[in-house]
Subunit: 138 residues, 2 copies
């Protein structure tokens, strides 16, 4: 792994993500944010910076649910790895800090020989609010 130079642009991208560990941003959104902030970072550079951060394990990547939508990225403080759940209707992202997850993960390891990567996994379903909405429709 080649060394990572601390350029103005690289620092700007990392800072953007690390400043909001709760948020998921697409490359485009990150680019826009930087532009608004007057940071002058090329879009290509944003992509390359993100790639570098992924390699360093500082970002996690979430594939889009629908096709032809962009992937999003989130700051990944290694210490606090946890599952995320995404509502398929409203798109809200929730962070699952919960012992039950550890229990389930342990079960997978023991009974299925599978080591769950919480950082890479996104659970999909419906949040409380959207379950209500779905029922109204019926």
């Amino acid at each position: 792994m080649p060394r990572v130079y601390q350029t103005r642009q690289q620092k700007a991208v990392q800072k953007l993500f690390s400043a909001r560990p709760e948020d998921c941003l697409t490359a485009e959104e990150a680019y826009d944010q930087l532009t608004i902030a007057g940071m002058e970072v090329g879009k290509t550079t944003v992509y390359r910076a993100i790639t570098r951060l992924l390699e360093q394990g500082l970002l996690r990547r979430y594939a889009a649910q629908d096709s032809s939508e962009a992937a999003s990225y989130q700051y990944n403080p290694c210490v606090d790895s946890h599952l995320h759940i995404r509502c398929m209707d409203c798109g809200v992202l929730e962070h699952l800090h919960c012992d039950e997850v550890e229990h389930f993960s342990a079960h997978l390891a023991h009974h299925h020989g599978f080591t769950l990567d919480e950082g890479q996994t996104m659970l999909y379903g419906l949040c409380k609010a959207c379950q209500g909405k779905q029922q109204e429709k019926k």
Copy 2:
């Protein structure tokens, strides 16, 4: 929802997926399979047939892990919905038929107000074989 005509092509695509409910195929792969089988179905038509099957709930869609990789689709016999786990190293797909999943899902519903959609969710991690490989590398 408009009615779905049973064309030669539509039937061919559905048959392809339903014949192998264990397999995940990308649109491209489906197209290739059909072409090899001499079915003469256009790629556009494959995409449109897949879209229709998704709308009907007969197919589930899995977003690609790495960027610039294609999404894959799998036949979805509604009755037997279950979680899937994918090895990030070798790519193997395992089907999780397990009471623990129901237990975890129930927990999510009760304590987090979140209804898990097992069909849409893919767990990522490392399978037994690849955990061994990872350790050797160190």
